[in-house]
Structures are given as structure tokens and as C-alpha cells.
Subunit: 500 residues, 2 copies
């Protein structure tokens, strides 16, 4: 261990600033008020020794996440739309500062950066009520684990944080996380919707596969509680091996995957519910293909239900039927064009030097990769991207109130984050036909959908087949599922259980 290559990040940043002053503008937009944006443009499951060197993790060494970049683009789109077209904040320029958090690896550093002032110093005070940090609010980060780490810090400052995809219901606890709001529905609803899907098709004998991290552990626990209420039994549960940072398969991992797939082939249960980040699933599904497993009904948690990289493995269609849970789609006009837009050439802010700046504000391959996945991204619909988009609008509406804006002007005052938080809690407005407001636990009650994976060119890749209403807590069909079974009959899901 040691501070190897300690100067690399600073040097790199300095060179970037000197050589290509406009290249950072994807991540940074100057403004009267800045929003922080935390996204996973790269990712790795936690099995990497990123902290054994005393430096901020370098996200770009990990695998690129096309969905994470898509969400960052949604935030940029919302901010630019508010700045250019709306009368929401007349005369006010909203800015942003995005950082790549690479899943759970790089969250503390950007938060310290956001909390510091323009001098890159975070003063220690016993009262921050008149303190002005770099940003007035933070959008993200993506996973529940990362969102909670961030929330522990932001809570002390009552700096508003709006999570767009962290589903853990621990975040509803406003005693622990008073500054957290969410534009995504919590895990309890997700589990209820999946459980009702099981009931809908009388699947009472299922297999559970989970990742070895908090996500897999917490959600499978919660799901088991929902199942117990509905007399659904679990044939067996297995923990998927955590892949290596570089995704090469070790002999031990291959062995464990082989055993799991063999167990699946021998089981009388054919419905397989999987709670796992997408990264832990690539090698698993390669093994499924390798062993020619067929006839399964795969149920995807929201973490991988819309993953374009897994969907790209088109041979998976021969293994059975894929169903997944996802947040509802709300089309954002103009976003499909914006997604591929390279950022405008723009000078960095005058006071923006390499000194003290944060790393992980770069992604060379993001735009090209997004271009190659553009069709599926477009056809997937605006789902979590709408969650990000509405989070930005919630902040803008709160600023509108706080700055006493009318149609033509605002009072451009100093904004203290805790006062903005009060206003965000009170927002209630319509955005693209949907009502945006937060309940007492800070959640926006959005709807969920059950989607089915499709591969024919004439079909959309993630077809909505059922709809879950969080107020009624009810799932209802909207369309027939096309089953993998001969004659397209409903899969029985296998037999063997009598319910618990």
C-alpha cells in the first residue's frame, strides 16, 4: 500500500484544463445556483481494492455504464430546458456539477467537495444555518448503499438530496435521513408488485437468486416477508458469486456458477426471481447459455430489468421468458435528440482551477457507447430518466418559491440549503401530465410496470404487460405475455410446493 501515482489525478486534471478547456462542460455548468449530480458512468461491484491507495478512485478504469450516462444526460437536459425555455426561474441561471460515483466506490469525496465552499475548504462549525456550500441540492446517487453514505453527511447540513433510483425503505426514515427525498418508489412496493405477479399466475414454488451485497440481502429478506403473506414457497435460494473487477471468471466463480445452474436445471421450480446489480449477472447468464438451460421464467428486479447490455445477449431468448419490474415510462419530449448531443463549447468558470477540483468528471467513451445503444435506449422509454428529470424540476419549483419569482423575475438571494429543503418538501406541480409532490416520508408515489423482454426487430425490447398502482397497491394486466412455452400457454412455473 502507498500513495502510488498520487499526482496523476491532479496532473491529468491540470492537463485537461490547459489543453481542452471545453471538454469538462458535460459535467459542469456555471450558474447562480449549482445542483450536484451523482451518477454511475462507470461501475464495478464492490470487490475491488479501490481504497488501498490513498487517492480518489478513478472511475474510468471500470466498465462504462450506458444507463448511468443516460441519467446524467437527463439531468443536463432538465437544467438546460429550465434555463432556456421556461418561465420557472426567469433571470436565474441554474448550474450543475456532476461527478461519476462509479457505484459504491466514489461517494464521500464528491460530497465533501459539494459541501465545501468556492475556496475548496469545508469549515467546521457547530451551526451551518448561514453557511453556503458549493451546491444547493444533490441529485442521486444511484444505489441505496451509496445514497445512505451520502445522506449521513448531507443530513448534518440539511442539504436536500433527491434519490432517483435508491429503493431501500431505510431512506424513508426521516429521523435518520431528514434531508432525503425520492422520485422512485420504495422497495416495499416493488416486492408487493412482484409477489402479486406470482399470485396472478399461481406461481407458488420459486427460486431466489441474490447478489452477495446489501442489495441482494436486504431485498430478498423483504421479498420473503411478502411471499410468506401469500403462501408462496421458495424451492431454494442461492447467493451469486461477486465477479472480479475485470469481469474475467475465476475457476472458483465458474465452479459456483456451474453448481447454481445445475441446481436450476434439476429443480422442479422454473420461476427464478433475481435480486442483483446487473454487473453480477453477466457471467451467470453466460453459464446459463453454456449449460443450455431452457424453460425458465426469469423475474428481474429493477436493478437489471432494463439493462441493455444483458438484453443484448439475444441468445437469452431461448432460455425462457424474461419479466421485470420497472418504473413507469413518461415520455420526455426532445430528450431522445438531446441524449446524443455533445456539450456546447463553453469556457470553464473563471475561478475554476485544478486546485481542489474533484476528479471523476470525465467519460471519453460515454457518447460513443450511448450512440451504439441509442435504439434500445430510445425504445426503452423514459423511466428512471424521468425520475431524474422530475427531481431537477422539483428543485427548480422550490427555488421558484424561495426566490419569490413571478413570470418575469426572481429575487436572486443567497440560498441556504435547509431553507430550500423546506420548500422542496412542499412542492406540488404537474410535469408532463404527472403530479409531483412528496409524501411525509419524502417519497413521490410513482407507478410501476411489469415489462417483458422481447427481441424481434418489430417489437419494443421492454414491453409493458402489467401496471402497479402504489396507492391501491394493486397490479393489473395491461397486455398478454408471450410465453416461451409451446402454444404460448401460461408457464406453470413448475410444481413441488404447497405454499408456506
Amino acid at each position: 500500500m502507498g500513495p502510488q501515482a498520487t499526482a496523476v489525478c491532479s496532473l491529468f486534471f491540470l492537463l485537461q484544463v490547459l489543453a481542452e478547456p471545453t471538454e469538462n462542460s458535460d459535467f459542469y455548468l456555471a450558474g447562480d445556483y449549482l445542483l450536484g449530480g451523482l451518477f454511475s458512468l462507470h461501475a464495478n461491484v464492490k470487490g475491488i481494492v479501490h481504497l488501498n491507495y490513498l487517492q480518489v478512485p478513478k472511475c474510468k478504469e471500470y466498465e462504462m455504464k450506458v444507463l448511468g450516462y443516460n441519467l446524467m444526460q437527463a439531468m443536463r437536459f432538465a437544467v438546460e430546458e429550465i434555463n432556456n425555455h421556461s418561465t420557472l426561474l426567469p433571470g436565474v441561471l441554474l448550474g450543475y456539477e456532476m461527478v461519476d460515483t462509479c457505484y459504491v466506490s466514489n461517494n464521500v469525496h464528491p460530497v465533501l467537495y459539494y459541501l465545501a465552499g468556492e475556496d475548496y475548504l469545508l469549515p467546521i462549525k457547530d451551526d451551518y444555518s448561514h453557511y453556503v456550500p458549493r451546491v444547493v441540492a444533490v441529485i442521486g446517487p444511484d444505489s441505496s448503499e451509496a445514497a445512505m453514505t451520502v445522506a449521513h453527511l448531507l443530513s448534518l447540513f440539511l442539504l436536500p438530496q433527491i434519490a432517483y433510483s435508491a429503493i431501500s425503505d431505510d431512506l424513508r426514515d426521516k429521523l435518520r435521513f431528514p434531508a432525503v427525498l425520492r422520485t422512485v418508489l420504495g422497495a416495499d412496493h416493488h416486492m408487493e408488485a412482484i409477489a402479486q405477479l406470482m399470485l396472478r399466475f399461481r406461481w407458488n414454488w420459486i427460486v431466489l437468486l441474490v447478489s452477495g451485497d446489501d442489495y441482494g440481502h436486504d431485498n430478498s429478506q423483504l421479498f420473503r416477508k411478502h411471499l410468506a403473506h401469500h403462501d408462496i414457497c421458495i424451492a431454494f435460494q442461492e447467493v451469486l458469486p461477486t465477479p472480479q473487477p475485470n469481469q474475467t471468471v475465476t475457476p472458483d466463480e465458474r465452479q459456483r456458477l456451474a453448481v447454481i445452474v445445475q441446481k436450476l436445471k434439476q429443480s422442479t421450480a422454473h420461476v427464478v426471481v433475481i435480486f442483483s446489480p446487473d454487473l453480477a449477472l453477466h457471467n451467470f447468464f453466460l453459464e446459463v447459455l453454456h449449460q443450455n438451460l431452457t424453460g425458465a421464467v426469469w423475474i428481474a428486479s429493477e436493478s437489471w430489468a432494463l439493462d441493455p447490455v444483458l438484453h443484448n445477449l439475444a441468445e437469452l431468448r431461448h432460455t425462457g421468458t424474461f419479466l421485470g419490474i420497472a418504473t413507469q415510462t413518461v415520455p420526455i419530449p426532445g430528450f431522445n435528440e438531446f441524449r446524443l448531443r455533445r456539450s456546447q463549447a463553453r469556457q470553464p468558470a473563471p475561478n475554476r482551477t485544478s486546485e481542489g477540483a474533484t476528479c471523476n468528471q470525465e467519460c471519453d467513451t460515454c457518447l460513443d457507447t450511448t450512440m451504439s445503444y441509442n435504439t434500445i435506449l430510445t425504445l426503452s422509454g423514459d423511466r428512471t430518466s424521468y425520475s431524474v428529470y422530475s427531481a431537477v424540476y422539483a428543485v427548480a419549483h422550490a427555488l421558484h418559491s424561495l426566490l419569490g419569482c413571478n413570470q418575469t423575475a426572481c429575487h436572486k438571494e443567497v440560498v441556504y440549503p435547509w431553507r430550500l429543503l423546506e420548500e422542496i418538501r412542499k412542492v406540488n406541480f404537474t410535469l408532463l401530465g404527472h403530479q409531483i409532490f412528496f409524501d411525509k416520508q419524502g417519497d413521490l408515489p410513482v407507478s410501476l410496470e411489469i415489462i417483458q423482454w422481447q427481441w424481434d426487430r418489430s417489437q419494443i425490447p421492454f414491453q409493458s404487460v402489467a401496471f402497479y398502482n402504489p396507492v391501491l397497491r394493486q397490479l393489473r394486466d395491461t397486455r398478454h405475455i408471450s410465453w416461451h412455452t409451446p402454444g404460448n400457454t401460461v408457464s406453470s412455473g413448475g410444481a413441488g410446493g404447497d405454499g408456506a
Copy 2:
């Protein structure tokens, strides 16, 4: 919500500094190198809205924790012993800066304070390898939840953190928590020891009571896994209500407690294992006494096994036999006298002003309360206090190596925390007859004991009856348990289960 009474803390601190300059020296000792010390001198379960005001929580508004103060005294004792008597760090003055964390309420603020420099500013850098924060290492905090919150922050700086009582084995994950070491045995060993106690007396039909927080949830999950390996069944499990901040019993809480105790009375299982912080148990045991429950075997997790306040409820002796799990006792010569020593009059350090200082460095009632519990504290033996004591010595030995000390002098160089961490990982020395070193996951393999509560004046309050060796993973009797049963025969633990 609002920044009410925002200036109170600063003002109070300023007045203290002006009026009684020596009163803070319990919490602060100037030195060449400072250690941070995080202890719960006051505590409250998390059901308090401490974050609804934008200010650092004021710990002294909560209930005083005599055990927490005892641990802080152990740290002071170790530092003063090293400074006064040893040749460990010749010519070097070790200092400290203690903060009351009041359980999970006040952890982020002291860590930011520790990470900042002497100017009370934390600079945002992308490389901290040549950064010198206020402290070189942190001892604590107490609970696993708080220790993990702190660890997320300290990990970025590779600033060594030695936990003395946080048992969650998540802390063993050195990918997530590379800077955490522990002088306490992890939860897995605790559960194994309790499970072996069940086997020893053929108790295969038990009740589980757990607190509603992470501690109760995580440990009961883990314990269930250990039970499953041993064919021990759970008659029922109940979640204890979280008490109000002021410990007054609400009608709802009373109702829930009454139902739980009724269920216990009706159950055929008499062995009751309780995983809960002590604070959530006072009202429960009052209800046990109220309903005249008798004949139980209570099994205490380490969180309340040695609680002098609960033990003080002497009527509990009529409810059955109390057994608990605790870390081994290692007598620290001189500590019993030191425990009650008021701090020496000492001037605050010259550069120490109220500006930017941290709050929660006061406890008016600590010494008096400790005095009233002194007998039981003395008779309880040095257990977690030895864990704190050995943590301080581990840092001192690492400093000894890092500063190239010999018998008479050290090279007083700048100490970078990450370099100190490397040295702490390598320490291996004998302290009061026990070997101190850390395994690859940063744990010190100490032994556990099963203790029995006793109340007769001629007896010690927590009598060791069995001993658990973590290397052999084996529990062995050391002394007969005196049962509550007529004729002092082994409690059968009830009947009804056939094992799982």
C-alpha cells in the same frame, strides 16, 4: 423546522472557555500527536428528531451512560500511563480529543472536526497522502452503525480507526473499510458462543426478543443461522418497541410490552435470548416485574450483559436466571483509582478558541454518577475498558515504530495517518499478559466469557461461568451456574420444540 437557538452551542462553549478554562481537560489533552476518542457519555435510541434542527445534537440532553464514561476514562488512563511511565514514546507527548457521540446521534460532526486541520478547515483534495489532519487515529465509536458511518469517511483518508465494541462483521470487509481495526471479537463468534451455551444445556426451544434497529435485526438474523446448524428452534420472535427519548412509556408502547410479556408467560419456552441496546430494555423489564413473570433464563447479548443500571433493578433476581456474553476481563492495575480522578487543572492549548471547536465535550454529571456506580464498575472487571486501553497501546506501539524510537528518544516527525495505519496493522506486543496483534481482517482475537448476574452482597455482580476460545471456537465451563430452579437444578428451558 428552523435554526432555532443556533448560537446556543457556540455561546455556551465560549462562556465555558472564558469562565472555566480547565473544565474541558477531561476531553482534551494537548500533545505532539492527538488521538480522537468517540464515546457515548449520553445516549438515546434513534427515535429522536435530533436532526430537525440545523445544529449539532446536544448530547447532554440525553440520559447519561456510566459505561461510556468509564471507557473514556480508560482511554485517558492509557494515554497518561504512556506519557508518564513508559519508555514506549520517550520525549513524545501523546494527546487526545474526546467527543461524546451519544450513540448514533453525533458521529459525522466530530469526524469532520478530526479530519480538519488546526485552522478548523477541511481542504478538498484529490490526494491526501501529505495531508495532516487534527488527529492521527480515532478510537471508537461504540455501536456498529456509528462505527460504519465514521468508517465511510475515515476510509477515504486511510485514517486508522480502532473500534472497541462494534461487533458487526461487516467491519471485517477490508475492501469497504480498509482503515478499520478492532479490539473486540466479531458477531459471528458471539453467536457461536451463545449457540454453544444452548447446546451445553440442551435448550432447543427458545424465544428471541430483538430491538427494532440494525443491531437487533442483524444479530438475530446471524443468530438464527447459527441455530439452524444446531437444530435449535425458535418458539417466537418479537421486536421490542423503541422507547421515547425521555423514557416515558406511551400507551402504545405499554400495550406492546404487555402483549410480549403475556406471550412469554404463556410460552412453553423459557429461555429468552435478547439482542438489544440496553436503553430499549428498561421499560421491558419493568413490565416483566409488573406481570410477575418468573422462571425464565434470560440470555443477554454483549450490548446489555454488563449494564449496571439494569442490574441495579435487584427485583429482577426473582424473574429467573440471567446469563450474558461479555469480552474477557483483563485487570488494568491502577485503573480503579483513576476512574474517579477529576482531571488535573490544565490550561487549554494556546490556539484553542471557541471558533470552530466541536460541541459535546462536556458531562457535568459523569463523575458523580460514576462514583455512585463505582462498586459495581470495579467488581465488573476491566473488559471493554481493556479493549479501549489496548487500542490506545496499539497506536502507541505503531507510533514507536513509525518514529523510529529507541529507549530514550524518538524522531518527532510529521505523522501521516495512512503510514500509521500500515504500522498498526503490523503491531505485535504483549500487554498485561495478552498478545496484541490484528488478523488480516483487522480483528484482535480476544476471548469471550459467559457471565451470570448475581445480587448477593458477598458475590460479584457478573460471575464468569464459561469461557469461549475464538481460535478453537469452543465454549467450556469454568464454574457451576446457580439456577433459579428449586434445588438449583439446571433449567430445562421448557419444552415444545423438536429442533429445526
